[in-house]
Symmetry: D3
Subunit: 247 residues, 6 copies
Amino acid sequence: MKLLLLNPNLTQAVTDVVLQAAQAAARPGTELLAVTGGFGPQVIGSRAENALAAHGVLELVAQHAAACDAVVLAVSLDTGLWACRELLDIPVVGMTEAGLLTAALLAPRFGVLTYGRRLVPVYRELVESHGLLSRLAAVAAVDVTPQQTFSEPQRVLAEVRQAALQLVEQGAEAVLLAGAAMAAMAPRLQPDVPVPLLDGVVCAVGMAETLVHQAWPKPRSGSVAATGGREVHGVSPALQALFARRP
Amino acid sequence: MKLLLLNPNLTQAVTDVVLQAAQAAARPGTELLAVTGGFGPQVIGSRAENALAAHGVLELVAQHAAACDAVVLAVSLDTGLWACRELLDIPVVGMTEAGLLTAALLAPRFGVLTYGRRLVPVYRELVESHGLLSRLAAVAAVDVTPQQTFSEPQRVLAEVRQAALQLVEQGAEAVLLAGAAMAAMAPRLQPDVPVPLLDGVVCAVGMAETLVHQAWPKPRSGSVAATGGREVHGVSPALQALFARRP
Amino acid sequence: MKLLLLNPNLTQAVTDVVLQAAQAAARPGTELLAVTGGFGPQVIGSRAENALAAHGVLELVAQHAAACDAVVLAVSLDTGLWACRELLDIPVVGMTEAGLLTAALLAPRFGVLTYGRRLVPVYRELVESHGLLSRLAAVAAVDVTPQQTFSEPQRVLAEVRQAALQLVEQGAEAVLLAGAAMAAMAPRLQPDVPVPLLDGVVCAVGMAETLVHQAWPKPRSGSVAATGGREVHGVSPALQALFARRP
Amino acid sequence: MKLLLLNPNLTQAVTDVVLQAAQAAARPGTELLAVTGGFGPQVIGSRAENALAAHGVLELVAQHAAACDAVVLAVSLDTGLWACRELLDIPVVGMTEAGLLTAALLAPRFGVLTYGRRLVPVYRELVESHGLLSRLAAVAAVDVTPQQTFSEPQRVLAEVRQAALQLVEQGAEAVLLAGAAMAAMAPRLQPDVPVPLLDGVVCAVGMAETLVHQAWPKPRSGSVAATGGREVHGVSPALQALFARRP
Amino acid sequence: MKLLLLNPNLTQAVTDVVLQAAQAAARPGTELLAVTGGFGPQVIGSRAENALAAHGVLELVAQHAAACDAVVLAVSLDTGLWACRELLDIPVVGMTEAGLLTAALLAPRFGVLTYGRRLVPVYRELVESHGLLSRLAAVAAVDVTPQQTFSEPQRVLAEVRQAALQLVEQGAEAVLLAGAAMAAMAPRLQPDVPVPLLDGVVCAVGMAETLVHQAWPKPRSGSVAATGGREVHGVSPALQALFARRP
Amino acid sequence: MKLLLLNPNLTQAVTDVVLQAAQAAARPGTELLAVTGGFGPQVIGSRAENALAAHGVLELVAQHAAACDAVVLAVSLDTGLWACRELLDIPVVGMTEAGLLTAALLAPRFGVLTYGRRLVPVYRELVESHGLLSRLAAVAAVDVTPQQTFSEPQRVLAEVRQAALQLVEQGAEAVLLAGAAMAAMAPRLQPDVPVPLLDGVVCAVGMAETLVHQAWPKPRSGSVAATGGREVHGVSPALQALFARRP
C-alpha cells in the first residue's frame, strides 16, 4: 500500500525528518510518498499560519491523494483533518490525533509536549476537539524553537527531558512529543523518562496502515460524507476537480 | 467608526443581504465596508469548503482591515476567527459567536437553526469550541438550501417556523438563525415563535461597535498575541506583509 | 436611553465609583440612574450576604426599572440576574456576566481576579453557572479587603499586579477584575500586564446599550418568560405590583 | 435531636404536608419544628419568587435555628442552601439535594419530576449546581399546578404516573418527585412504576439525622466558613445578630 | 438492623479497625457483622488486585448478605459496588461513595487523601465514575504504606497533616481520608486542619442505616434490576445460587 | 507475532466466532491463540457477571500471556482492561475500546449498538470511562438475546438494521456493533446502513498488531506501572506468580 505523508509547510527538512521516522515505522510493503507544501507558512507557529496551511493541505491532497491508499497529515495541529476526511474516499489520519489515540491505549492519562508556550492553549483546544480532554494530564512547552533542536541539541535535549519529567509529576503516564524534530529525540530521552515517549508520525503510520487493511466504508451520510458537485474558484484545477466530482 | 464586513465566499448576493442587515443594525456614525471573497467556495456548505475559506478570510483582512476599526466575519461558521484575532490589532467578531453570546444574555439555554442536516454536527462543534455547549439546547436544520429561500419562500418560511418551534420544544429559550438568508426571515416569523429569533450579523455589528468604543488592548502574551516576523509564501503581497510586520 | 445602574449593597461609595466607571464608558445619549440598596449587606463578602442581596435587587428594580430602558447589575456576583430577567420586560445585564462574555471576544481563555480567598470558589461557581467553565483559566484573589484599596493603595496595587501576572502564568489571556474598586486600578496596571484587564461595569454598560438598540423581544415561553399574577406578601407595594402585573 | 423543617413560602398547607412526610420518616427521638415563611411568595413558581424566598429562608433560620440541631430546607429548589451552611454552625440539608444524593445510592442515573414546564430548566440548573449532571437522565414536568393535586387528584395521579414512566424510558433508574404535594402520591404510584419514587423530604430528614449523629465539624476555612462580624441593615434583629456574631 | 461490613482483602487487622470505626459510628440497635475476604489480595494496592477483589466481594455477599439488612463495602475503591446492587435486594453502600456524598453535604468542593501516589489517578477515576468530578478539588497521596501507620505513627501523622493542609490550599473545603488506617487518625489531626476530615466507613454506616430505615424499593427495570436465572460456574454454591435465583 | 484472544465467559461458541473474525482481520504472520474462560458466567449479561469475569480474565492472562506478544480482550465490556495493562509487560487492547478509537478515526460522532436494554447505561459508562463521551451520539440496544442471533437470524438482522438506522438519525456517523454475534452481521447489513458498521474484534486485532510492531515501553511510573511483589492467595499458582514477580 502507498501512504501519502503530507507536510503543508514549506520546510523540506521537516518533510525529510518526518519521512525518516515514517520509514522506520512502516511495515514491509508500505510505500511512502512524502510531499511538502507549495505555498503558505515556512513553519506553522501561530493560529494564522495554521489557518492558512489548511488550504495548502487541500491542494496537496488534490494533487497526490489519488495515487495513494491513505493520507497521514504530518502536521502536528492536524490541520484540515476533517476537511480531508470529507473530501477523500481513503483513510486520513492526523499525527497528533494518532498520538493521542495511541497514548489512550497505553496510559489512563497523558501529556503533550511541544515547542513554544504560545501554542500550549492551541494544543489543549486540539485535544478537546478530539474529545479527549478528560484523558489529558497537561500540555507543556519548551521555550526553544524547532530550529534550536539542530543548532543547540544538548540544550534542547535537556529542556525536553525536564519538561517531560514535569508532565509525569503532573500525572502524565505517557507523553506525546508533538513536533517532528522533537520526536527524533525520543530514543535518546526514553531511558531517562519513566513513561512512554510517543511520536505522532509513527503512531499515524501504524493507524493508517491498519485502516487501509480493514477497509471500512466511508460514511455515506452525515458531516463527512462526500458532498459532490461543489463549486470552488481560484484554486488549482486539481482541487477544483476534487470539489466538483460526484461520489 | 468603520467596520469591515467580510464574506469569504464568492456569492455577492450573500454579501448584499448581510450588508443590508448590518446597515439596519448599525448605529449612526458606523460606516460599513462589505467585501466578498476573491477565490474559494461559491457557498460554504461543507467542512472542506470551510477549511478553504479560511485562506480567503485572511486575504480579505490583509487587503481591507488596515482601513477599518473592527472586523465582522459574515460567515456563519466563524471561519478563521482566532487566526484573524492573532493577526490583527483591531477587534474581530464572528457572527455566530456574537449570536451565541447575545443569546446567552437573553436566555438560559438556546438553540441554533441552520440549512442542511450535514452541518448540524459542525455547528455543534462550533458551539463547543466557543465553550458554550452547556447552554445549547439543540441544533436543528431545515432540509432546504439557502437558494430555496428565494425560489420557494413560502415553503422555507414554513419549515423554518416549524423547526424553530421544535427547538423551543427541546428547551431552547432563544433561537439563533445561523444563515444570512434565514435571518432575513426573522421579522416575519417572530410573531409565531415565542422566543427571540436572533440574527448573528446584527449581534456581531453591535458587539464590534462596542469593542471599538471600549478600546481594550490586544493581548501581548499568549496564543493570540501578535507573532510578528512570520514568513509565508505564495500568497498575496498584502497577506505576506501582514504576516511579516512586527507589532 | 436610560440605564439603571443597580448596587444592592448599602455602600454609597461603591455606587459612586461604579457610576463614574459607567459614565466614562457610556455612549453619548446614554443616561445613567445609579441606585444603592435600601437594606441588606453593607458590602457583599459572603454567600449569605449575596443571598440576602437578591431581595434588595428585586426591590430596587421594582422601584426604578419602570423609568429605564435596561438594567445593569453593578454587583460582581450577578445577584438576582435571572430573576430580574424573568420579572422585567427590559434587558438586564450582570457586570461579571458581561465581563466574561467580553473576555470571550478577546481571548481563548481568561482569568478572574477578586478580593478575598473565600470568594474564589463562589466566582468559579458563577462562571460555571454561566456555562463558561471551559474558557476559565483560573480564579485568583488578593488577600486584602476592598476598603484597603483606598487606605493602602500602593500595597493593593502591587498585590493586584502580582495576582494578574500569576493568572497570565496559569494561562489567562485576559483578566476580569471582579470588584468595583479594583476596576479603577485597571488603567494604572494595564501597562504592566500583558493581557487586557477588563472592568465588568464598562462591559455591562456596552452590552446593555447594544441590547436596547437591538430590541430583541423577551421570551414568551420558557423559564424567563413573564409569569404574571404572582402573589407575594410582606414586600414593598412596588415589588408586590411587579409580581402581580400580567404581561 | 430537633430538626428545623423550613418552608419559606407562605402556604401553611405545604408546611403541613411536609411535616407529615417528615414525621413518618423521622426516627424515634427526632423532634420536628416546622415553620412557614413570614413574607415572600405564596408559592414558589418562578425564578424571581425563588430569589425572594432566599431572604425568607435566612429570616426563618435566624429566628428558629438556635434551638435546633439541624435544618431541613423544605423547598424543592434548595433555596439559600449554601448561605445557610455558611451562616449556621449546624448541618443544613436541602430536600432536592438529599433526594439526588439518595438517588445516587440507588441508581446509576435518575430523573427528576416536577410541576410546570417553566421550572424544568431551573431544576436542571440545580442538579448541575450540585455537580450531578452526569447522573441525570432527564427532568420532566406535569402540566398541572400543585393546587390541582388536591382539586383533581385522579387526573394529576395519572399524569405523574405517565411522566414517571416516560422518565424510565429516557433512562431514569430512580425518580425524584420534586414537589411536596407530589411526594404524597409516591406510595400510590410506586406499584405502577418499576423504579424507586423518592421524596426529598424523607431523604433530607434521614441525612440531617445522620449528620447530627456524626457531628462533623464545620469548615473553619473556605467559602462556607463562618464569616463573623458582618453588618447588615433593614432586616430583623435576629438576622442582624446572626450576621454579626463571631464564631 | 444488621449491617454486613465487608472487607474483601485478607488482612484481618483492616477488618478489625474498620469494625471499630463502624461500631463507634453505628446507632443503638444496629448490629454489625464484619467479614474478611477468603481469597484474593492481602491488601489492595493496585488496579489488578482491585479487579480480583471484585470476585471476593461477590463471594462474601453470597455467603453473608442473606442474614443482613444492608451491606457496607469497607474497601476504599468501592469494589464491586454496582454489581452488588444488582445482585442483592438490600441496600449496598460503598465507603468512598458515602464519604464523597457526605462531603457534598458539607462543602462545595472537597479533596481525597490516600496512601501511595500510584492510586491517585485511580481515585480520580472513582470520583468521576460517581459523577462528582466537578466537586473534586484534588486527590493527594502520602508516600507511605498503610503498614507504616502502625510502625511509624508520628511520621505518618505528620505527612497526612501536611497533605491535608495542601489539599485545603488547593481548594478542598472538606477532606475524605480514603484508607481505613488513615481514618483512625482523624480525631488527632482534626484540630490542626481547618476543614472536616471524613472517614468513609462512618459515612457509609450512617447512609446504610438510613436506607434500611427508608426502605425504598429496588429498581425493577434498568441496569441494576435483578437479572434472575443467570448461570455461572466454578464459584461457590452460594454465589451460584445467588446468580440463579429469580426475583 | 502471536496474539492472545481472550474470552472470559464459558461459551466456546463465542470464542469460535470471535476467532473467526480475528482470523479474517489478522495480517499475514499474526498467530492467534483463542482461549475461553474456565469459570464464571456462561455469558456476560449483567453488572455482576462482568465483575466476576474480571477474575477470569486475570486467570487467563496468567496462564496464557507469557507465550504471546499482545492480548486482545474479546469481551465487549473491556473487562479487566487496565488491570491487565498493569499486570503484563505486553500490549493489551479491549475490543470496545478499539472499536471506539477506530470510530474516532472515521467519524466525528458515533453510536454503539448492543443486545439488551439493561446494558445500555453500562456501555455509556464504559464510553465515559474511556473519556469519549463527547464523541458519543447514543447507545442503542436491540431487545433480543445474543442466542436469538442464531435461532431467529432474520428477525435479529431486521432489528439490528432498524436500530442502526435510528442511531444514524440520532447523529451517529459510525456505529460500533458491540457484541460478537452482532459483528458477524456487519457485512450483510452494511449495504443498508449509510455509515460504517464496526466490529470491535477486528479493530482490536489491528491495534494490537500495531502496538506490538511499534514496541513502546510500558510505563515505569504511574497507575499502570508494574507493581511487583504483590501477595495474593486462593488463586491459581500462575496468577499468584504473576502478581508476585518483580519487574
